[in-house]
Amino acid sequence: MASTTNTHSSVKKNISSTLVSMSMDKSGSKLGPLVTPAVWIYDYSKNKKTPDIGDISIYAGGLFSGPAGIVTGLFKSVVEDDIETKLNHVKSVEPKQYRDGIKSCHSYGNSSPSINAMAIAGLGTTVWQHPIGIWVYVTDSQGGLIVDYKPVNPVVVYRPKIPLVKSRAGGYVWSSHKK
């Protein structure tokens, strides 16, 4: 139920803040650009979610380009909500004690999720692709790496070789394991 309530929360939040911002602009108020940061503060207090670099650049761009920034922001929100829904599904099938430590590779960096997956595996933790397509990785409750996690239903798993061996490029040697 809680996850259903959270579904599409980014889109709703973005649309409502955009509408408030636009109506304030229409009415001649100069406070419109302050609405988005206010929504970030609300989002942090409610969901402990902070704006990422994409949010900030879209906001900064939106100040100058208006409609283009709004459209880009809405598109980003739709993608984020889709990923959030898929991530919640993946978490739901994994053991309860690991669920909070499972995160999406999509939000790790600016590259594609499969490139992020390789980079994260090289850092020394378990990464896998779920049959619904999403790439995820796992850490423990303190953010520590879990080298030998065995996901419930992976398409493919990337994990460091044990014992850990340093790679020439600075990370750890890792390998892939198909189901």
């Binding site: 283009a68 960096g109 600016n110 590259s111 594609s112 499969s114 490139i115 992020n116 390789m118 980079a119 595996a121 090289g122 070789k161 790679s167 020439r168 490029a169 600075g170 990370g171 750890y172 040697v173 890792w174 390998s175 892939s176």
Partner: protein, 114 residues
């Protein structure tokens, strides 16, 4: 019909999009070019794995930004074992990133040596 005002918005946006696409492509092709250079070196056959890695890595560090997908994936794939599986995985992820077919013959030969 689009008027001048609308064109003045859409044309720059279109050009910026094209430039962005080219940059992504260039980084992977640049990396391929570094492997081409390594392949052409007369001393390549005698170079150790460390030397070959350093040759490529110096060029990558000098020319590709830290957030370049080509640089991030290169650093990751060098840690992949078995080494003879690196190129196939790199090619697959590169094609996902670029959303088109991509190949690099020199990398296919040399990536497993690093």
């Amino acid at each position: 019909m689009m008027n001048i005002k609308q064109l003045s918005i859409f044309v720059p946006l279109f050009i910026v999009s094209l430039v962005s696409c080219d940059n992504t492509t260039n980084d992977f092709d640049l990396l391929c070019g570094y492997f081409d250079e390594l392949e052409k070196l007369n001393s390549q056959q005698e170079m150790t794995a460390d030397n070959k890695f350093n040759f490529i890595n110096d060029l990558v560090s000098k020319n590709l930004t830290e957030d370049s997908a080509a640089r991030i994936s290169f650093n990751a794939i060098v840690g992949y074992a078995p080494a003879n599986g690196r190129y196939a995985l790199y090619k697959t992820t590169t094609e996902e990133e670029l959303n088109k077919s991509w190949q690099c013959d020199s990398m296919k030969v040399l990536l497993q040596d690093l």
